[in-house]
């Protein structure tokens, strides 16, 4: 962009979006394409006693009917998959582990024929005892969801495994910083509180969809995936093929929020395509989406030691995450959710045990916030519990403990570029926080305010590669496997490339992921797409720039250090800036196009026994302040005002940045007040969006302000996709406490929980008054 121009803000594909012209995966139609449907388990835990698909196979219009047993028999298929453990059968083998697990898959001429075939399947189950909650699963002698220890496979570099064979513990993460016993002994007061988060849905507007084709020894899928290259690897393993023979194409996604991180439906579509010998489309209905991937329900107990003057000296965290019937990414998430419980606080002694627990509910995986939502709900709620008991102002108590530049996080690594205090101060000012603020009351309506401040890592180590082609017209194609899912990846990468090369934005096209053509990118998640994917794009442009300087200096007949790239030209630094347009350099070089390559890699790892090391290449920082009103007669909470603040480093696209931050507030309000998957005996009770509640526009605060703390000089980009979500729930919970004196420890904060809390509080007050009344007057 030339100097003085207004930076682009918005989406480069906005027109296509609002006119309905974005080609999503569901729009893919191939000649002869069959439609897939799946018969799902009606049992939470059962042996498959009999499975007869013969009548389904005979139905006209049915091309393929597959069972887990069929897949197990095939020598060309490895019938298990998963991002860490290969514990998930493509279709149930031998037994089913949750209600909704795929048992039989059908490909047929249309959806009606596929459904009709499923209706002709006879299946008998022998029910097994099941475990649904954490305590069920950990009870001595509890039935095992997986009898055998899960098989590990090729996975991410940061995964730490501590198995507990013979139990339902899927994985454990340990962190030992300092000396916890000494720390707790040194504390003047020790607080122990337990907080709960329910299983939730990511609810992307677009449900999972996959179109698969198997021809000429190659597997091609069009998939709604946040991780094209890992999906390629998983499918290659399933098909026992070299990864080069698998091709994953990812059109724009209609939202993901973590739901589309790891393989789920793609192996089913692909084995059906193999068996049907024709392309197959598999598109989940919303109720199927509900049982495909979820957010971990969690229980976190924090034992926190504090000095009388309000310094946190020790924290012991016991975290249990319900990972459901299959591990998915649970084995890694417990690490983030585990060390995350230390929060953005300077605590010398930290001890964490964090567990992923197998149960007979649908698998839990990645969810915007990635374990930090559960952790932050716990530690930021407990901050106010402690402040109240010690008689401290929650703002001052936080300011006293927030990490400052160079202090160490729970993992022992110093935290740099640290802005927690500034962020907390921004939101406190915004909401009008004041230590003397008392709740206000008007009739049955009380008002209160709450604060919260959180820290989130980004996956480390991680790698992104980008390739850019500078065409002989001076335009640029950016090849990356980063995924556009509505967050604005294409726009962000185009801006970064255009400004780095100094060309106008309309000359840049960002290509959608296609693993045959676009280079490796680890994952479009963990708030890393603009940060890490974008860094690779910038490095690739730098590579092209170096080539331009080299070639241009030759063409201009001056030394390399005498040329510069400016105004879309390679020119001499000295006036009168004799030069060539970029396209001209390419043409004269006779290279066809200049190809730039950039690899961005972060380093780090944690010691498996102590959790000490480097957990994150940088830290995503946020704070929140909420004001609520509560109806004391019904317990109903209304969010009146909300101020959120985040540190994005440098903002690439202001409109999109603000929308991400606001979107996170919507997610958080929903989780604070409404969302919850309700199970009865492993059967989900609210698998529709009429019964599973999301926040509506009406529930959003009338005053919603997102503060962006920028640091343009430093120039680093910090991810914002998730950053501002974790503080929302506790800010609201703390405001409810401030208004009512009722501390709800299990999300969501329903009116009924608040009303019960008010009754208990009133009963306790009454008991205290009675006790005083009974004391003899001296």
């Amino acid at each position: 962009m030339s100097a003085g121009s207004v930076p682009f803000s918005g989406m480069i594909d906005a027109y296509e979006r609002v006119t309905g012209r974005i080609p999503y995966t569901i729009n893919i139609e191939l000649p002869g394409m069959a439609i897939a449907k799946v018969l799902r388990s009606t049992m939470a835990h059962a042996r498959i006693a009999r499975l007869d698909v013969s009548r389904a196979r005979q139905l006209p219009g049915v091309y393929a009917v597959l069972t887990g047993a069929d897949l197990l028999e095939r020598s060309d298929i490895y019938p298990y998959f998963g991002p860490v453990f290969r514990d998930r059968p493509i279709l149930a083998i031998g037994k089913v582990r949750y209600v909704g697990e795929p048992v039989v898959a059908v490909a047929a001429v249309d959806a009606d024929a596929a459904q009709e075939a499923l209706d002709l399947v006879d299946v008998d189950y022998d029910e097994l005892p099941a475990v649904f909650g954490i305590d069920d699963a950990l009870a001595p002698g509890a039935p095992l969801v997986h009898e055998e220890p899960p098989k590990a496979g090729h996975t991410f570099a940061d995964i730490i495994l501590h198995g507990h064979p013979g139990t339902n513990i899927c994985n454990q993460f340990k962190l030992r910083k300092g000396d916890i016993e000494r720390g707790l002994a040194e504390a003047d007061e020790v607080f122990e509180d337990t907080f709960y988060s329910p299983p939730l849905q990511q609810v992307p507007l677009e449900t999972h969809c996959c179109v698969a084709q198997v021809t000429d020894g190659r597997v091609t899928v069009w998939a709604t995936s946040q991780i094209p290259h890992m999906l390629r690897g998983n499918l290659a393993e399933v098909f026992k093929l070299p990864t080069s023979r698998v091709r994953v194409i990812v059109p724009t996604l209609g939202g993901a929020y973590g739901a589309k991180c790891y393989p789920a439906i793609e192996p089913i579509a692909a084995v059906l395509a193999l068996s049907a010998k024709r392309p197959v489309k598999f598109h989940l209905t919303r109720d199927e989406e509900f049982v495909t991937v979820t957010k971990h329900g969690g229980r976190i107990t924090l034992t926190t030691g504090v000095t009388r003057d309000g310094r946190i000296v020790a924290r012991k965290s016991l975290c249990h995450f319900n990972t459901g019937a299959y591990a998915d990414i649970g084995p890694r998430l417990i690490k983030n959710g585990g060390y995350g419980t230390a929060g953005p606080h300077n605590i010398p002694h930290v001890w964490v045990d964090s567990f992923a627990i197998y149960t007979n509910i649908p698998p839990a995986g990645a969810f915007r916030g990635y374990g930090i939502n559960q952790a932050a709900w716990a530690y930021e709620s407990q901050m106010d519990v402690i402040a109240e008991r010690l008689g401290l102002d929650p703002y001052e108590f936080r300011m006293k403990n927030l990490l400052t530049e160079g202090q160490t996080f729970a993992t022992g690594e110093p935290v740099e570029d640290c802005h927690f205090r500034e962020l907390l101060t921004m939101v406190a000012k915004g909401i009008g926080w004041d230590a003397t603020t008392r709740r206000t009351r008007q009739g049955p309506i009380v008002r209160g305010k709450g604060l919260s401040c959180t820290i989130k890592s980004t996956v480390t180590p991680s790698t992104s590669i980008a390739v850019v082609n500078l065409n002989d017209s001076g335009s640029l194609n950016v090849l990356t496997s980063s995924v556009e899912m509505g967050q604005g990846q294409k726009t962000a990468h185009a801006i970064l490339a255009a400004e780095r090369l100094g060309i106008s934005l309309d000359k840049v096209v960002v290509v959608s992921p296609d693993t045959d053509a676009t280079p490796y990118d680890q994952q479009s998640s963990s708030s890393r797409t603009t940060y890490a994917g974008g860094a690779a794009v910038q490095l690739a442009v730098d590579d092209v720039r170096a080539q331009l300087v080299r070639i241009g200096s030759g063409l201009l007949g001056v030394p390399e250090d005498a040329v510069e790239i400016a105004d879309a030209r390679v020119r001499t630094k000295a006036p009168p800036h004799r030069g060539l347009e970029l396209g001209e350099v390419v043409r004269k070089s006779r290279s066809g196009a200049l190809v730039g390559r950039g690899t961005f890699q972060t380093k780090g790892n944690l010691d498996p026994e102590t959790g000490q090391g480097v957990a994150s290449a940088h830290w995503n920082q946020a704070a929140a302040a909420a004001e609520v009103e509560v109806d004391l007669e019904t317990g109903k909470v209304r969010l009146l005002r909300y101020h959120g603040a985040s540190y994005p480093g440098r903002v690439v696209n202001r409109v999109q940045a603000e929308l991400q931050l606001e979107g996170n507030v919507g997610f958080g309000v929903s989780q604070a007040l409404f969302e919850e998957m309700v199970f009865d005996g492993g059967q989900l009770q609210n698998a529709t969006l009429a019964d599973y509640m999301l926040t509506s526009t009406e529930d959003m605060p009338r005053e919603l302000v997102v503060h962006i703390l920028e640091n343009r000089e430093r120039g680093d980009i910090h991810g914002i996709g998730e950053t501002s979500l974790p503080p929302v729930m506790a800010a609201i919970g703390n405001a409810v406490f401030h208004a009512t004196g009722v501390r709800v420890k299990d999300l969501p904060i329903t009116p009924e929980k608040v009303l019960r809390g008010l009754r208990e509080r009133d009963a306790a007050d009454q008991a205290e008054r009675n006790a005083h009344a009974a004391e003899p007057v001296r």
Partner: protein, 290 residues
């Protein structure tokens, strides 16, 4: 579907009734299709045929005043009731209640006939229709009949309609001049959720004294409830002071509140008590402002 689902679009009520009779209880009437589509998709119903009322004229789309009553045709949408100048003038609480249902996208298609025939306990309009002594007009093979709302709702998704009857209109007597009404919808979850409890209060004042009080509670039990023996406590009073909490407590203990994801039975009773009191207070204070 195991069998293909027939779809009929009769052009008269008589033809619709004929079709329903032919299928003998295995056909479902569909109008706005906000409810039927969800039930079909979730396989809660498995009819052999759908009988769409979409092409029927027969006055099913009109809102008119007739013999001291408002007559809402079965195909009138929620949004039309909400926005109708006639309804707003004659029975404002009716427009107000239909205006609280779901969101504008749903209200643009969901019909008056549909909401009564579906008989979902968590719909807003049934309670207000009960309080207003409305009648459901239905036509079957033997002609038309009027069913008082109090007799119409029988249980969860259960009405007094015969399998071959079609709701053609809802007839609502216009309350005497000076009647004030208020519908108080209480949601425990998102603002677009169905009510946990809905309370309608109607009061007519004769000077400072209440000449008539009607209170109906919806969404808290299988069918909307009115308790005349409790309502009458308000008559002759100013609807101030102790009588209002007494009435509210009476409703809370008289209604056998149900348990669902929107609230437990215990919680609903607490809310009924609060909301009945507030609804009466609201009509009482509106009355005093005249």
């Amino acid at each position: 579907m195991p069998e293909s689902l027939a779809f009929h679009e009769p052009t008269s009520v008589a033809d619709a009734v004929g079709l329903l009779a032919r299928y003998g209880g295995e056909a479902k009437v569909v109008a706005g299709s906000t409810a039927v589509t969800i039930m079909l998709r979730n396989r809660l119903i498995a009819p052999r045929a759908l009988v769409s009322l979409g092409r029927i004229q027969d006055g099913l789309r009109s809102i008119r005043e007739e013999d001291g009553a408002l007559v809402l045709g079965a195909l009138v949408t929620h949004r039309e009731v909400e926005m109708s100048a006639l309804v707003r003038e004659r029975i404002p609480v009716l427009a107000e209640t239909f205006g609280t249902v779901a969101n504008v996208r749903v209200r643009n298609v969901a019909t008056v006939g549909g909401v009564v025939a579906e008989a979902d306990y968590a719909s807003d309009p049934p309670a207000v229709l009960l309080a207003l002594d409305a009648q459901i007009e239905a036509r079957g093979p033997s002609g038309e009949r009027r069913i008082p709302v109090a007799d119409f709702f029988r249980g969860f998704y259960e009405t007094a309609l015969e399998a071959d009857e079609v709701v053609t209109a809802v007839r609502i007597p216009i309350p005497p001049a000076g009647t004030r009404g208020s519908y108080e919808k209480f949601v425990t979850r998102s603002s677009e959720d169905r009510p946990c409890v809905g309370v309608v209060a109607l009061a007519r004042f004769d000077g400072q004294r209440c000449a008539d009080l009607r209170v109906a509670v919806g969404a808290a039990s299988e069918t909307p409830r009115r308790h005349p023996e409790i309502e009458q406590l308000g008559r002759g009073t100013t609807l101030r002071g102790d009588v209002v909490p007494t009435i509210a407590a009476g409703y809370a203990s008289a209604i056998d509140a149900l348990d669902d994801m929107r609230g437990s039975s215990w919680y609903r009773r607490r809310v009924i008590e609060v909301w009945v009191r507030r609804a009466i207070e609201r009509v009482a204070s509106a009355a005093s402002q005249r």
